[in-house]
Symmetry: C2
Subunit: 662 residues, 2 copies
């Protein structure tokens, strides 16, 4: 058997596993795995530094299947190279509930799935984050501990999505030379030929962002290998355009959109078996081919052992710190540092915007937690995301801790996800809350994957003032709270901001959004309490002077209004409690007893939030009084806007008293 | 006064109006208007075909300030050229509540504001839609009635946003040669130099998408004029890189990020007055300069009159149709066509997916309403957006009615907004509902602007099956319902789908989203009713057999489950009503009497929707039973998934009976 024969048979193993799994499921995408099998075979048999038996090895190469619909390509590779999570039984149960082999690759389902892909363009942007993480950690720990490549396989869909431009431009700017994108250039999309909707010269486009670009026949293993070799030596990120035939081997459907997203049918598969000379029944891989794949899975075993030896030889303190960072654990003194800072806040009672409170907390956190990497989508001074410790990361210079992401909210969020997935880094990044919409698809994936990406969303209401309704979030708090497994924090003052940051850092399996004000707020937490009260999601901030006639629930900037309303109501003889609600999601996790007691039985329940009502009925009931927004905002000063929209202590008191006198 | 002196003084009028207005507001963005004043002066005095006294003239050139933060540039131009909506008083009250001169340009605030901009990248994509609309209408009505340019002024922020890539690639592909983008190439973003975050060769990038590109000194009026002249003759869209100094004229802050987004201060403005030789007090424009501007505002008056003459000479039927289309009114027979089709449906009772119902309704609608332009973000066969009438639009060929938008949800939605804003077209476009997140920023702007963009979102729940949680919307219905002025329709069968389409087309001031299933659904509306019942937002679909013990509220695919549960509950002696809830937003607009009666007093209230609970408390109260999703979905068959997540008639009956027996 020549080396080319062997390659072909190994690639065909991917093709038939994919065809057969899709056929059995009667659902899925055979076209990409068949078309990209040669690329994947070259990459995994000749280049990938990974160890299927030690799949979490920190210095492994990362492989991202950005075109996630081709999930059977990845599952085939993981099975063939010997990852224990992906057995033949898993492949036979492709796309069935309870199996690891979901329709699209799901992070957490199996070792070797480096990220959840499927929504197009996310994977390539994750890969940018991973490649950046690698360079950042390399700058700290050197080639001995961190020196790996990040490969992404992307299709036309990935490259048409706008997020890809953000990712490409950022990677080119930062000269992430260990990032290699393999473009499955097959001229086909779901609707038909790419030429129906696109004429872009992709190589020219990548080159415009200073990428190294190459083009090869994606079915020529030597050409692919030579290109990857060249890419690995480049001082810039590389895009290799691999011209392929989608559904390679399917006798009548190859090269058409018919092979993209559905089972081929028995006849077509039989034809493919004939065309590719594959005489084996479904799911059977001949032992010599399986052996060849399994042997290739051992390629990097020696490298892993050498790496472990180097790690063992590393200075104990540095090694411990490296291992701690990669584990995701916070420094041992983290809680103590926060406690000390909270004591200082209780004494100082700063009257600042929560975006400033956040910056102050970050100054403490970034001093204690060296693995945070900050950034902003070109709103550094407004998002207050930069602290004294976070020097800039620049092209070729990765020792810093701050990324100027540019005006690229979506690319930022997806790159943050990539950094979090890589490990060793806790990424946070800022923009205006209204632009959370731009980042939302990546924020959703952070939630679905259960990773620690922290989104800093300032200018969180009409309180931002004159920029007007395009910039004033109204529905965004509700829309973010709607995402499962996503903690939305809206702190009311500097102490709450600190507690929310503590919770965000401690939530290793849940991403967080911090909603922060532009405007100054008084301290509402004036006594030091060691316990993190925000961990309850909602808690009684001010008790009623007697049996409560009114309970006011509020978050963030509106807690100040709630306290002012309470003072007026109590002066009028109406005992009033105030409940601060920094995080709906954590409140829902409390005991029923806690929740019932906190909501209480005051005859009048009011919620105040400078946003829409959606979600607040949970606290105040359908007959509760909501003081907030009922539509879009307006351009004006904050002094004009709050009264204009009736979000004032006076309006609250008036509404409460009208209800009490009923 | 030389012609250059005159130009300079006219441009300086923009600069000082902008500086002075921002200074008075103590808020705003002087840098762009000062930097781009020369570009704008050349464009508006030598090229723009518009008539300030007839600002809605259908064949005017469109000018889009994509860099919307530079709103004072636009307000200055509108005031100076004589638009009545923007008076000097408006400019003096820049960014104040109750004035037309909002922080960012708001469509509807004043004639001459062609679109709402501010969220970066949207404007350039709107402009692509406008330019496409122009070509589409030109293909129908010829040069005599439709023959204008679309100009967009974009900054670095617009070009860094991913949406710009989608827009650029689409425009280049479609050869929209009457689109001219002026790039305010000032090397500055908020965080500092562009070089902090970007190194893209923008001309090369546009060229990669087959644009014509030019570069000029953005302060040289003759060079700018020559470039615009050349652009107007191009057979491709043109990007003119105009190298400018941000804050041109500010003595110490020009060319820095300090001049971008805040008032310059009295001293700096005094220095600018000196540097630019402007001896006039704030808001005073010398009469010769104002006269020169006002005269330029009359430049196209003759062209407008000629156009009106051509319109008057046009065949009466064609003219009436053109005028009807541009007015936004539907054809007179529209309701009759729908009524006839509903009768057919009542007879046929088709059991099809609502995505198919939608296609069937569109087949009727597209036959009756020639101004619809369909499309999909590369999911034509899945979204069922193409009908027999909608032939493809292709590069240079605009007589069709269907746009292959490519895998560009965000660009599609923003281009649709541009088409709706242009007038004469009703755009609809499809993708999977989970990818509404990608399009969301543009969907929000459609809502804020109050325009008729119609978003077709298929695969609206776990019902899509094996593609898994990345593709299964769970929070999206709630998140879309959260957007103000956005009608989210979720029809339960073919009749409801038709009624929802009717409502979407009739809602000229509110965009719509149609949430549609992948899976087949039975007809739940089996009798012909002339009235559009979906117009109530929610209505009683099945009465209880006796005094209702249970009311079940459901939408879309879950109405079938509600009806099955009703049958079982009634068989067990529990009279049960079913309320179909196709549109929350329209329900809220009904009278309190209607709403109270519809919700009713059944002791047990249940809502069923294969999505999260958020929003349903409005119908069932906090103690109501919710049958739906509590987190992300899973990859599996629909037959596995509904029982797995407990969304079945049996689970509904069990929950109801447990409550009834309490």
């Amino acid at each position: 058997m020549t080396s080319r024969d062997k390659h072909d048979r190994m690639a065909n193993a991917i093709r038939f596993l994919s065809m057969d799994a899709v056929e059995k499921a009667n659902s899925g995408h055979p076209g990409l795995p068949m078309g990209a099998a040669d690329i994947a075979t070259v990459l995994f048999t000749r280049f990938m530094k990974h160890d299927p038996k030690n799949p979490h090895w920190a210095d492994r190469d990362r492989f991202v299947l950005s075109a996630g619909h081709g999930s059977m390509l990845l599952y085939s590779l993981l099975y063939l190279t010997g990852y224990e999570d992906i057995t033949l039984d898993q492949i036979k149960n492709f796309r069935q509930i309870g199996y690891r082999t979901a329709g699209h690759p799901e992070f957490g389902h199996a070792a070797g799935i480096e990220t959840t892909t499927g929504p197009l363009g996310q994977g390539i942007a994750n890969a940018v984050g991973m490649a950046l993480a690698e360079r950042i950690l390399n700058a700290r720990y050197g080639d001995a501990l961190v020196d790996h490549y990040t490969y992404a396989l992307a299709g036309d869909g990935c490259l048409m999505e706008g997020i890809s431009q953000e990712a490409i431009a950022l990677a080119g700017h930062l000269k992430l030379n260990k990032l290699i994108v393999l473009w499955d250039d097959n001229d086909i999309t779901i609707d038909g030929a790419v030429s129906l909707s696109d004429s872009t010269d992709q190589r020219a486009r990548f080159a415009a962002s200073h990428w190294n670009t190459l083009a090869v026949d994606g079915h020529d293993p030597e050409a692919i290998a030579a290109a990857i070799e060249a890419a690995r030596r480049s001082d810039r990120p590389t895009m290799i355009a691999c011209k392929t035939t989608i559904g390679f081997g399917a006798p009548t459907k190859a090269g058409t959109s018919k092979v993209h997203g559905s089972a081929l049918g028995a006849e077509e598969i039989a034809g493919a078996r004939k065309a590719l000379g594959w005489d084996f029944p479904p799911f059977e891989i001949p032992s010599d081919i399986l052996d060849a794949w399994r042997v290739s899975g051992l390629n990097a075993c020696k490298k892993r052992k050498e790496w472990e030896a180097r790690l063992a030889e590393t200075d104990a303190e540095i090694r411990a710190e490296f291992e701690r960072r990669m584990s995701g654990d916070l420094p041992a003194n983290f809680d103590a540092v926060i406690a000390e800072y909270k004591q200082k806040l209780a004494a100082d009672k700063p009257k600042v915007a929560t975006r400033k409170s956040s910056e102050m907390a970050l100054e403490v956190i970034n001093g204690a937690v060296p693995e945070t990497i900050g950034g902003s989508a070109d709103l550094t001074g407004s998002n207050n995301t930069k602290t004294s410790q976070t020097k800039p990361i620049a092209p070729g210079e990765y020792a810093g801790r701050y990324v100027y992401y540019g005006i690229r909210e979506h690319g930022m969020a997806a790159a943050m996800n990539g950094m979090a997935l890589h490990g060793g880094i806790i990424p946070y990044g800022g923009t205006f809350m209204t632009f959370s919409d731009y980042a939302r698809p990546a924020m959703r994936l952070a939630s679905l994957m259960g990773i620690r990406s922290i989104f800093v969303m300032t200018h969180d209401s009409i309180g931002l003032g004159e920029d007007g309704p395009t910039h004033q979030p109204v529905e965004h708090l509700a829309a973010l709270r709607a995402i499962p497994n996503h903690n939305v924090f809206r702190p009311a003052d500097a102490t709450e901001a600190t507690e929310c940051w503590q919770l965000a850092l401690e939530s290793t399996k849940t991403p967080s959004t911090l909603a922060l004000t532009r405007q100054n707020l008084p301290a509402v937490r004036t006594e030091y309490v060691e316990e993190n009260l925000c961990a309850y999601g909602a808690y009684e901030l001010a008790t009623a002077d007697g049996e409560a006639a009114v309970t006011i629930f509020a978050s963030g900037s509106e807690v100040e209004i709630a306290l002012a309303a309470r003072a007026q109501l109590q002066a009028h003889g109406h005992p009033t409690r105030v409940v601060s609600v920094p995080c709906f999601e954590l409140f829902e996790k409390q005991s029923d007893t806690y929740k019932a007691a906190l909501i209480g039985n005051a005859p009048v329940k009011i919620a105040i939030e400078a946003a829409i009502r959606m979600g607040w009925d949970r606290f105040i009931g359908l007959d509760g009084i909501f003081i907030g927004m009922h539509g879009f905002g307006a351009s004006g000063t904050i002094e004009q806007l709050y009264p204009h929209f009736g979000i004032t202590a006076e309006a609250t008191v008036k509404a409460a008293e009208a209800r009490l006198s009923n």
